[in-house]
Amino acid sequence: MKKTAPLLLLIAVMGVPAFAQMDFTGEWAPLYHEDNPERIPGPELGDYMGIPINNAARLRGDAYDADRISVVSEYQCRPHGGDYSMRGLANMRVTEEYGPDDHLLAIHTRMNFQEQARTIWMDARPHPSELAPHTFQGFSTGTWEDNMLAVFTTHEKESYLRRNGLPRSDKATFVEHWVRHGNLLTIVTAITDPVFLTETFVRSQTWQLDPGQRMGRDICEYVPEIAKPVGTVPAHLPGTNPFLHEVADWYGLPFEATRGGSATLYPEYKDKAPKPDKVPAMCDRYCACGQNGRGCNLH
């Protein structure tokens, strides 16, 4: 007993469990049962609905000319940021990495669009200094909150909140909560951006486990798509963007609501919103996205 007592103590200390992690590993296929037209074909120009943007972000959106992606060749292969990766073309593979002591060191994600890889460090390491380089996916650390994984990400490059020119700055951070229910994975993303948002912007999305998913490569090489003089940056001059009313007119919405902002987000806005200028009799755009579980076409 003398020999086994210390051994008992040692093994007991080693073996006392904290409650442990969930298993998020696997191939995950995103469900687009929310905002399908925005996330797949892409958002309408001037659609700033549902985002607590400030006026700077709004004006940036108004100046945005989608030609910029073609003309400014450095944008052609630009991937989504770590936060938008959860939202857009977001087939995902999740794997785990264990350290030499067999404790979980990191959780890795790979998104199919532009082959974006992110590491969520689980070893309590500090985030880099403010002078360190930023990446599109950012620097992420994770902790367990019972059955949820809480992830904190900093050091993202400037990117977008929505793919129609609404910017997200490199000062932003975001927090995620991952939770799994059977074969469904829900990830809630809460973005804080002191440059472009007036409050925390929360989006949540769900994936379904898809063991048969095969992502393959997403190789990008930029080429001159439109001949323009070097240094041309397509943009609308202030007050000249002709497309800003489209989304309101196409969908029978008050123009003010399409401009986004915190004041438009809460239930009381419904009663205060002005009347739309135009209300079509029937839906004419993206009306059947997702019908019968299929894709999203304009008509």
């Binding site: 400030n54 006026n55 700077a56 972000a57 709004r58 004006l59 940036r60 108004d62 100046a63 910029r68 400014v72 450095e74 944008y75 292969c77 630009r78 991937p79 532009q114 082959e115 974006q116 200094s129 403010e130 002078l131 360190a132 380089p133 930023h134 990446t135 599109f136 490059k157 400037e158 910017p167 700055s169 490199d170 440059v195 472009f196 990008c220 070097v230 240094g231 041309t232 940056v233 943009a235 001059l237 202030p238």
Partner: protein, 312 residues
């Protein structure tokens, strides 16, 4: 004493004008030097003024820019942790005091060895401005008084040499931030140092009085984009050390360049419509960028763009 007052004035002035929206620091006692590894041989040091680039290797040490004079002992202490080798090169990206202020102090601290001479390099216009006569006909300062002045000047489109196992290119960027700007490429380490042509957290200070122009600024940014090559999906690869702010890469330079071009286009449009400078400022052509680059520097930026484009 006159030279000291002049360099101090240049230093304070330079710091004031190159660090948009920030208050000048008078007391450097509490400044801690932050050291950031960049890539391969290259490190970035930051204290209070402009970023300092440090290249280390078997040949010795190369510095780009020297911050403020009072910080030189602290800078030297950090450099010594990176390498015991001799400092053989100091390159100045431009004339402003927060980038050249430490030259003399470094010169005095570095042991003199004729076999390992110290080369202090900048474009000729930097030396011209440092030694130019002062206001009201006051005599200019001399290199004899300031051994840290960049006497190893160049006035060609570029200068190159080999050091610490890699080719180094110093490119003159005419009439950009100033008329003496240099951008330096470390071809082996794949790092570019830009001076204040690129300042990711603030509007560029286009120093019209010292030969800067918005056309030159944009041309310089475009040239930096030619030098940088991202490694994978528009990220990493060539790293960029800006005049102030964090380590960047091509994607970050693109955002900054695009901002300058877009604001320039707006101001150009207003000039075509016959607007005065005050009217241009009142129209707030930077309103969508102010929360990102700082509203405090907006008017100065717009004014420089206006003057560059209108010639007024």
């Amino acid at each position: 004493m006159k030279w000291r007052a002049a360099i101090l004035a240049a230093g304070v002035c330079g710091w004031l004008v190159s660090a948009a929206g920030q208050q000048p620091q008078q007391n450097f006692d509490n400044v801690k030097i932050q050291v950031t590894p960049v890539q391969k041989n290259i490190y970035m040091l930051f204290g209070a003024g402009g970023n300092v680039t440090v290249q280390v290797g078997k040949d010795g040490v190369l510095l780009i820019d020297t911050e403020f004079e009072p910080l030189v002992p602290k800078l030297m202490a950090e450099i010594k942790k990176l390498s015991d080798g001799p400092i053989q090169y100091i390159i100045n990206t431009h004339v402003h005091g927060d980038h050249v202020g430490g030259n003399d102090a470094f010169y005095k601290l570095i042991p003199k060895n004729p076999q390992l001479p110290l080369n202090i390099i900048a474009h000729a216009n930097v030396l011209n401005r440092l030694t130019a006569p002062g206001p009201n006909g006051a005599p200019g300062t001399s290199t004899a008084e300031h051994p840290g002045f960049p006497e190893d000047e160049y006035d060609t489109p570029y200068k190159d040499f080999y050091y610490n196992g890699e080719p180094i290119f110093i490119y003159h960027e005419p009439n950009a931030h100033t008329d003496g700007d240099s951008v330096i490429l470390f071809r082996g380490s794949d790092v570019v140092t830009t001076g204040d042509i690129f300042t990711p957290d603030s509007y560029p200070f286009i120093d019209i009085a010292r030969g800067g122009s918005v056309k030159g600024e944009i041309d310089a940014l475009d040239h930096i984009l030619e030098l940088t090559v991202p490694a994978d999906h528009q990220e990493g690869g060539t790293y960029v050390i800006p005049g102030h702010g964090r380590v960047c890469d091509e994607a970050d330079v693109v955002e900054f360049r695009d901002m300058v071009v877009i604001v320039k286009d707006r101001v150009q449009d207003l000039i075509k419509k016959g607007k005065t400078l005050d009217q241009v400022k009142a129209s707030k052509p930077t309103e969508d960028y102010d929360t990102e680059y700082g509203a405090n520097g907006a008017d100065r930026f717009v004014e420089a763009v206006y003057k560059s484009l209108s010639g007024k």
